[in-house]
Amino acid sequence: MEAFFEHFRLWLAAFLTLGIFSFLYKDNPWYKLTEAIFVGISAGYWFVVLFWDNFHGKFWVGAGEYSINWVVAKLTGAQAPPPPDSSIDFMLWVGAFLGLLMLLRLVPKIGWISRWPLAFIVGSTGGLWLINYFASNVMVQAQATMVPLFSSAFGTGFDQNADAVIGALIIFLGTFSGLVYFFFSKAHTGVFGGTARVGVFFLMITFGASFGYTVMSRMSLLIGRIDYLLGDWLGMIK
């Protein structure tokens, strides 16, 4: 039985792998089947993970279970659970309450209440990231760009410090002209437009560098899949 399952798994994985690859030729029933399996299985997967990790692990263990036991004990006159320790955080009910409000969308007449949790989420995302992004992106990057354009630390003689000096100048000019490109208040004409254009060149080199950097790793992914098909599945390469 185990041997059967072992084979079944190998063939299943190969079947799904080829199903996805078949998309490169064109859309076809094999791909559609693979896609249907992928969507169904993975949607279920994530709900289960969300349920156990977030709902059970965070809310239920952190507040829900204790609160409900307490209410039930009060209602039935049974002995109330011992006072909560530090692992219990009743604030988590805020999240659960907002989550329940979200579900009111299913009730057409009062569905508009679901905008409250939405407003809560948007407000907290905006507020949370505003200073975070400002600090980590604007302040840190500006500080990092305050570098010497030439310095004895670069070494002496042209062959030793030419690339360092040019590098420092390039970082300075590139950052500056890149920022000019993003300026919204002035049309890209004249000297300003010229600088913005230089900024675009720098952006393009940056994109090219990321592009080139990624190509290799993508190729190794493909090699990994081919290795599975030819090696693990068909046993053609050992």
Binding site: F21, L33, G40, L50, G123, L130, I171, G178
Partner: protein, 240 residues
Amino acid sequence: MFKRRIPLFILAFVGTLLIVSVFIPPMENLGEDFTLFFDIIAVFAFFLGGGNLVRIHFGKLRRRKKDWGFSIVTLVAFFFMLTIGLLKVSSVGGVWNIPLLGIGDPAAIAASPTTEGSWFQETFNYVINPLQSTMYALLAFFVASASYRAFRAKNREATLLLLAAFIILLGRTPFGMELTRWVPESFSVLQIPNMAIWIMNSPNLAGQRAILIGIGLGVVSMSLRLILGIERSYLGEDRG
């Protein structure tokens, strides 16, 4: 009144609170608390998303729309995963364990359904995992076609992009090393691997910085528009 004002009030209140919390030590954990709330809300929201998935595919099935057969597959796959995950199903040596239904060993998968050996995790390993890696591997083909297109675009920007990409790519291979081995040591910066390093550390860094600074400011401005209620289209209130 309730429909319009309350969401805007919640938005402004929560947003301001979180901005201020960065500067007030007793409030410094507020961000974490709110992230926790978000995680819990997201679980409830899944009933809407998952419900939508089920509704759409049942609809296709009922009306026998084109490709309705695949809808059956999606539904079966979805409910299969929910069942084995929520019930923490596992089987060891032919013995079934469904602890939540009182079948088999109650402590079989005590902690998480993602424990190795559970049906849930097995399905992840043999279905989701190969699918993920194969989708990921498709990128190799798409990178090739995108490079080809960039190559055909005959303007200065595209040329720069490709040139940089090419040098970085070569710089990461032994071939790049061989290609410029003849360049004398005093001009070692012109050797391709060194050029690649120089591009990464200088012009690339400059571009990254400009982009990052711009993003930081963009976030500040957009967040303020949202918190002030100037931008509220997502709340179902487009005044435009």
